[in-house]
């Protein structure tokens, strides 16, 4: 046992691809690039690679910090590192910025090679399946035939599940955390409110706002505010903010009165300052489209018959965005197919966001599960 440590200073890498990628939407990306980071060392047998898939606003920066930005800590740094549950002394861990993202991989804020201009709204729709396909090509490039594990939370969990279906022979273990086999009408409804906030922002300019030197910050802020409500639980909001008043009394104005208003505005403004609106639109659509059972007439057990990986499914008691019931659907469908699966429902008050925390039982479970993976 060692004290858990940071992977330290890391640097993103970039891989160019020239073989066209056919997309589910019918479009094609003739050439594209992916930005990624790796932690740990690929062993001689190339059998210890673990892919970490990111959620809506995540990136390839999973762990560690940057030399020029020591406070920019990876989004799942509490999970990945020497002595941490996903131990980089044993595993070679990879984080990839998904296609359509805004952290350097081909996406709306990157150059369209065909026009020499930024893609903007012309970047094609991408799906979870497209991401997995592109991640598989990156694996080819890195000489990884088979991942020891693919893991992810939320939308990242959907990619992990999709890996088990698209490339069953290329993944040994899959962890699907705080995810769902598809979105409900309510989930899509929240996404649609977020999209409308962006699409109706006067500075959206049909997605070509870069050319106008503006960003639809107001729309993106509203989108994030709505999203944030769904990430937290009623209890955690009550605990954190309750009905606390900024000025200790009602001021009968539309300025910030309740602390929760202040929190949401702050989160919204912060997010609008660094995230890309087109990426937000594309990513919420990818969430909405994800439904591996669709082509099986809605029969999830039939859809999961292809999977052969050893699964861990985790949900959180207070997650109402993707509730434990949604995770259980995945568990029962795997059970139907006699697949190896373990399932835990973690008692954590933080709602959907729980998957990013280092709650003791949650991380102990992940540690135990990663420990039992032979590389």
């Amino acid at each position: 046992m060692i004290q858990p440590q940071s992977v330290g200073v890391v640097a993103p890498q970039r891989a160019e691809f020239t073989e066209p990628l056919a997309l589910r939407s019918g479009g094609t990306l003739d050439n594209y690039h992916l930005v990624y980071e790796t932690y740990g060392t690929l062993n001689a047998e190339r059998s210890n690679a673990v892919l970490v898939c990111h959620a809506l606003s995540g990136s390839h920066h999973v762990a560690g910090t940057y030399a020029d930005a020591p406070h920019n800590v990876g989004w799942w740094d509490n999970l990945v590192g020497p002595g941490k549950p996903l131990d980089t002394r044993k595993f070679f861990v990879i984080g990839v910025n998904n296609l359509g993202g805004c952290y350097g991989s081909s996406g709306p804020n990157q150059m369209n090679p065909a026009t020499g201009k930024l893609w903007g709204a012309d970047f094609p729709f991408v799906t979870v399946e497209d991401w997995v396909e592109s991640q598989a090509r990156l694996a080819d490039r890195l000489g990884i035939r088979r991942f020891a594990a693919v893991v992810g939370g939320s939308l990242g969990g959907m990619q992990a599940l999709s890996w088990a279906l698209q490339f069953p022979e290329r993944v040994g273990h899959v962890a699907v955390i705080a995810a769902a086999p598809k979105l409900t009408a309510q989930n899509i409804a929240f996404n649609e409110v977020a999209r409308q906030a962006i699409l109706t922002d006067p500075e959206f300019h049909g997605g070509h706002y870069y050319e106008h030197g503006v960003v639809p910050a107001r729309g993106l802020k509203l989108a994030r505010m709505v999203g944030h409500i769904t990430y937290l639980s009623d209890d955690s909001m009550a605990e954190k903010f309750g009905r606390s008043l900024r000025h200790g009394r009602n001021t009968y104005s539309y300025d910030v009165e309740f602390e929760i208003e202040s929190y949401l505005r702050y989160q919204g403004d912060k997010f609008a300052g660094y995230f890309d609106a087109n990426t937000y639109l594309l990513t919420t659509k990818a969430l909405d489209y994800f439904d591996p059972a669709f082509e099986y007439g809605g029969n999830l057990p039939a859809a999961l018959a292809r999977a052969s990986a050893d699964f861990l499914v985790v949900s959180f008691t207070t997650d109402w965005r993707f509730s434990p019931e949604r995770s259980r659907e995945i568990v029962y469908a795997l059970l139907h197919n006699k697949r190896r699966v373990s399932y835990a429902e973690i008692d954590c008050p933080a709602g959907h966001d729980s998957f990013l925390l280092d709650e003791t039982r949650y991380h102990a479970l992940l540690s135990a599960w990663f420990d039992r993976i032979e590389v």
């Binding site: 259980r328 568990v331 029962y332 059970l335 139907h336 006699k338 190896r340 699966v341 373990s342 399932y343 835990a344 429902e345 973690i346 008692d347 039982r361 102990a364 479970l365 135990a368 599960w369 420990d371 039992r372």
Partner: protein
Amino acid sequence: MTSYRYDYDVITQWIDPGEKVLDLGCGDGDLLRHLMQVRQVQGYGVENDPDKLLASVKNGVNVIQMDLEKGLVGLEDGFFDHVIMSLSLQAMHNTQGILHEMLRVGREAVVSFPNFGYWRHRQSILNGHMPVSESLPHQWYNTPNVRFFTIADFDALCEMNGIAVRERLAFDEGKLVLEEPNFLASVAVYRLGRGR
């Protein structure tokens, strides 16, 4: 509790190689691990205690978190060859419900429980104290057990619910009891089926 429980041997005898087995209240997964090794079963445990669930994951068995008091919702009818509940029935409120559920999702159910009618337990009550023994190791104030019943009581319950007792073995702290089990046995292990 010892890490090895003698009801495991009986249960193992009743399981054929390669069966699909569900172990309710699987604890640290030792029984499942044993059945995987000697019977190559496709085994799944059910556990609702986070520490035990973690122990099962460490033990390398499949374990699913579920509250048994809510039944086995989501599991398919007749999916398992055997559904096992080893020394846990007495800790459940919904006794009849879980027995029904076990025989819904399983072809057969295997149940073991401490016999409250064991002579030492009766003696203890006669002496004015709640029994504490190898099979009932807790004090009255900290026991996880919520149902106290005898072999005779369980037979009557099966009869009342149309549950077939296919086989029953009774033990006095590890030794097989053939005569007067309700008086002489501390633990009973049943193999149950649907109908009479």
